[in-house]
């Protein structure tokens, strides 16, 4: 009898943990609250320091998850309840109604073309539209549609109904109900990842006030060939190509008034986005306002040097004090002090500003912790009390990996995810060390 392991969260950490656990012979139930697995890594254009195309390296793993005989995907689902103790947890999975028969839907997209409801796309960070019936991104796994009940005219107001008419596979079912699936699980893995801090909480940086201030994830979507601008580097206010861009690091991180901790990956991804921007538009000039340039991994320092020497990126060690409108709606004015105590206050105009906000433990992290009655640490991450087991939470049989435990990059998340598989095998082999 294969033992069940429930993995909560299907970003890269959850996906890797599921694959390793499944390869070891455990029966994995991978729960993801959005319609597709993939997490934030699916939104990235490229990954540092190799600048591999993110989706190209991620999608084979996503497909392996879908095809693995030992993995059951529960997408568009959330954890309803967790009871019991190791090795007999009882997990209730709330599979939300998608109003689509997954056995019939082939993801062809005929319905999307006809749907009249437009909603800001979560995947595109609000920069473009999706429909009420939608596939979050082209490489979504499972490649099945979802109807977002909140925005569907049929489900809310009993109007429209076009998708049902258009669907040749007969997959639309407006009467579908969500359901709760109850499972016994021997081990639970928490891989709930991160959310970007909403930078409107820090109005001095102009997010939500100045049109040409975007978040780093929004910039990632702009750079992406499958994104809202087709990879064309343009600024939101007037769709013109920006020439002078700047990044502001540590927006809300390393900040006594917001979050004390360092989000670990922003120095590197800002460098990456700068390099990509200059590859898209060789004439751009980029400035990165930073505190410490944390390039600690393999090939990271060389990556930063490459940005400086081959791509002309200017690194200025200063925290901007204020960002305001420059010319009406277009561009921004950044005020900062030049580095050092004898620095001078300076204001510089930029066509576009990218903020690197703090990466927070996701809302799901908080919800799961509450459900399990577990304390999070002062920064909101799961505690791992025993140094011998960096993936064990304070409750036996509940393992954590990736950003749910601490800010970390993709390779560290993947290592932790595999580590979770080892610990599961240890716990369930009866070997107690």
């Amino acid at each position: 009898m294969k033992e069940n392991v429930v993995v909560i969260g299907a970003g890269i950490a959850g996906i890797q943990a599921s694959l390793d656990l499944a390869d070891m012979g455990f029966s994995v139930h991978l729960i993801e609250k959005t319609p597709s697995i993939g997490g934030h890594m699916a939104q990235l254009d490229k990954t540092f320091p190799t600048n591999d195309c993110s989706m190209c390296i991620l999608s084979p793993k996503m497909i392996m998850c879908a095809e693995h005989e030992n993995i059951t995907l529960h997408t568009y689902s959330e954890v309803d309840s967790i009871a019991g103790d190791f090795p007999r947890f009882k997990v209730g999975i709330r599979e939300k109604a998608r109003y689509i028969d997954l056995n019939r839907c082939t993801g062809c997209g005929d319905c999307v073309a006809k749907c009249p409801s437009k909603v800001p796309s979560e995947f595109e960070e609000g920069l473009s539209i999706r429909k009420a019936i939608y596939l979050p991104f082209p490489q979504a796994v499972p490649r099945k549609m979802t109807i977002d009940a909140e925005n569907c005219r049929k489900i809310k107001d009993n109007k429209c109904g076009v998708c049902l008419k258009v669907c040749q596979a007969g997959a639309v079912d407006y009467d579908q109900k969500g359901r709760i699936v109850e499972l016994d699980a021997a081990v639970i893995v928490i891989a709930t990842g991160f959310d970007l801090m909403d930078a409107t909480a820090l109005p001095q940086f102009g997010y939500g006030i100045c049109k040409d201030v975007v978040s780093s994830m929004q910039f990632e979507r702009i750079l992406s060939a499958s994104g809202p601008t087709g990879g064309h580097l343009v600024r939101p206010s007037d769709d013109k190509e920006p020439v002078n861009l700047a990044f502001v690091q540590c927006v809300g991180s390393r900040d006594a008034k917001n979050h004390l901790y360092c989000s670990s990956v922003c120095c590197m991804y800002a460098t990456k986005e700068s390099i990509l921007a200059t590859e898209h538009a060789p004439d751009v000039k980029i400035t990165i306002f930073y505190m410490d340039m944390r390039a600690v991994g393999k090939g990271f320092q060389e990556f930063v040097q490459r940005a400086k020497k081959s791509h002309g990126v200017r690194y200025v060690r200063s925290r901007p004090a204020k960002v305001q409108q420059a010319n009406g709606d277009n561009g921004v004015l950044v005020s900062y002090e030049t580095p050092g105590m004898t620095g001078e206050p300076v204001s510089e105009e930029y066509d576009m500003l990218i903020l690197c906000p703090a990466l927070l433990p996701s809302s799901s992290t908080r919800e799961i912790a509450k459900m399990l009655d577990m304390e999070l640490d002062d920064d909101g991450f799961f505690r791992t009390p025993d140094i011998r087991y960096p993936t064990d939470s304070s409750k036996k049989g509940i393992l954590i990996c990736g950003f749910s435990g601490a800010p970390m990059d993709i390779p560290d998340s993947v290592s932790q995810a595999s580590g979770v598989a080892a610990r599961t095998a240890e716990l369930l082999s009866g070997g107690d060390r």
Binding site: T106, A425, G431
Partner: protein
């Protein structure tokens, strides 16, 4: 003569709205060797697969061509369908008319239809020449070997043993523990190392599944995943054993500073490890100056050693905690206290009175000896002036560099190392603890300088990866491997050199010298095929003849079109 079946997929409107599928099917019907051509709305659906299988049986098809989306999504699905219908799964050819055609030529329907015809003509030409292949299987010896008994290796071994897997630990020193034997406390949580190492050792010592070999090193290593032969020299004797998986955990070492900052001349200038020894012994200096980034993050050694800032923060706080009046200064070029607990440690150090001064690579601190210590002059970039400080000791934070003997280990294991001597993993992002060579894994500072918690996580990860084939009991050997045509081989050795997996050797077959591919190690990458000057090396499933036939079919189709 192979009977080829062609199945063109509409993929809903993805292909169907751009390519005229019916026209393409008619075209396919008249291609040479095509016995039947049909189309499906969604080939990957239950219905589509069912109709393909039915057609295979009814039309007694030998080979199947599906023209649809990308093989990355559904190739395994269609191969399974072929097998279920009685056709060898390698007698299947996938033609991509979605990503390669309808999706990129969405606005040129006529041209896209013509292109789809061409792609299918090429696919049929190749399919006509396909031969059945068989995947091999090798059993896996249910034993693992861990090379290196430091924190990463001990964790990997303890995890494997706890999972019930027999494990050999091969350690070159006389005791386990690695670098942590000389470090008593680790940050950022100020955990004592002795109980940590002791418990891991005890986990191993009390298990009958663990074999610890001290003062040992590997002298010979052969084989491939599932079947490695290892010979070690253990003191005076040699021991042989077979394992199914190997984990490299050979660690790193502290760079001994060369002639910088007065090291070797001024006795109060010491290394971080020397400081660890003194602090463990109860030393409580009244003042200390730490210099970070010594001989790294500069031309000649560009990398950042990741851990030194946090080690300095820990030791700075240890000094202050043992002597609250101590004056501690840290001269740095960035403080790399990434994450949660480390960043808090930085704050705590700063609030406890540790001074942080930023210096630039172009103007390094200058040291001179003093009667009771040393004095340091540094150009502080923040204050923009020269500052003089004195300290009882000056601690040089040098990087972790690759372990001695890495080149030999790399050669023995047939794994690569990067230009800094750290082992090179299979993929820097998504396969951090695996080597490209199957069955060999890496963890800890042998891969990259890592904190203790990171070494432990990686040790667990490597243990999981090693456990997978061992638990599975067998490994599948890739069917699409390279193959030598002995007749044509000129024994030039290009393939031996080109193979990234060292899967080819020069041998003698029936008195003739030629290359030979070890199929278990071959990953089917095709590099040797490209390197062979005589066309003697062929890739199964992608032979020169098959690829040539595709080109011929394309040219024929283009000529036909020109005539039209």
């Amino acid at each position: 003569m192979q009977r080829v079946g062609v199945f063109v997929c509409h993929c809903g409107h993805n292909i169907g709205s751009v390519v005229d599928v019916e026209k393409v099917v008619e075209y396919a019907k008249q291609l040479e060797n095509v016995a039947v051509a049909d189309h499906n709305l969604y080939s990957c659906s239950e219905e589509g697969l069912g109709s393909i299988k039915k057609s295979i049986r009814e039309n007694k098809l030998d080979v199947v061509v599906v023209a649809a989306c990308t093989p990355r999504t559904h190739e395994p699905l269609f191969r399974r369908a072929c097998e279920q219908a009685g056709v060898n799964k390698y007698l299947f050819e996938f033609v991509n008319i979605r990503e390669h055609c309808s999706w990129i030529h969405a606005k040129e329907k006529e041209a896209a239809t013509e292109k789809a015809k061409r792609l299918i003509a090429m696919g049929v030409a190749k399919a006509s020449l396909l031969t059945p292949q068989k995947e091999g299987e090798a059993s896996v010896i249910p034993v693992a070997a861990v090379i290196g008994g430091g924190i990463a290796g001990l964790t990997a071994a303890a995890s494997l043993v706890s999972q019930g897997i027999e494990t050999h630990v091969i350690e070159k020193e006389a005791r386990l523990g690695g670098l942590l034997n000389n470090i008593s406390v680790i940050g950022p949580e100020f955990v004592e190392t002795e109980p940590l190492i002791r418990r891991l050792k005890e986990d191993l010592e009390r298990s009958p599944q663990a074999h610890i070999h001290l003062e040992s090193r590997i002298v010979e290593l052969g084989g491939f995943i599932g079947n490695f032969d290892i010979k070690i020299a253990e003191g005076a004797k040699t021991t042989d054993f077979k394992v199914g998986a190997i984990i490299v955990a050979t660690g790193g070492r502290e760079l001994e500073p060369t002639n910088v900052y007065g090291f070797g001349k001024i006795p109060t200038v010491i290394t971080q490890m020397e400081l660890e020894k003194r602090l463990a012994g109860g030393a409580a200096p009244s003042s200390a100056i730490f210099i970070q980034c010594v001989e790294c993050r500069q031309p000649g050694r560009e990398y950042c050693s990741r851990i030194c800032c946090n080690v300095t923060l820990k030791n700075a706080l240890r000094i202050i905690r043992s002597n609250p009046n101590a004056r501690v200064t840290v001269l740095h070029r960035d403080i790399m206290s990434y994450g949660t607990t480390a960043e808090r440690l930085y704050r705590e150090a700063s609030e406890s009175g540790v001074s942080f001064m930023r210096y630039g690579l172009e103007s390094p601190p200058k040291i001179s000896e003093k009667e009771d210590g040393a004095s340091v002059e540094v150009f502080d970039e923040t204050l923009n002036e020269n500052i003089g400080i004195s300290g009882e000791i000056v601690v040089l934070a040098t990087p972790i560099i690759s372990q001695e003997g890495t080149a030999e280990t790399a050669k023995l294991l047939k794994v690569p190392a990067d230009k800094n001597g750290f082992f090179l993993e299979a993929h820097v992002k998504l396969r951090p603890v695996e080597f490209a060579t199957d069955g060999v894994f890496i963890c800890g500072s042998a891969r990259w300088p890592s904190h203790v918690t990171e070494c432990i996580a990686q040790g667990l990860a490597a243990a999981a990866k090693a456990a997978i084939p061992i638990r599975g009991g067998k490994v599948v050997i890739e069917a699409i491997t390279a193959e030598v045509d002995v007749e044509r081989c000129a024994a030039c050795g290009n393939c031996v050199l080109a193979c990234p997996y060292e899967a080819i050797e020069m041998t003698v077959i029936d008195g003739k010298r030629c290359a030979k591919v070890n199929e278990a190690q071959c990953k089917g990458c095709g590099t040797c095929v490209a390197a062979c000057p005589n066309d003697a090396m062929q890739q199964k499933g992608f032979t020169t003849r098959q690829l040539g036939a595709m080109i011929d079919a394309l040219i024929k189709n283009c000529k036909e079109e020109a005539v039209e």
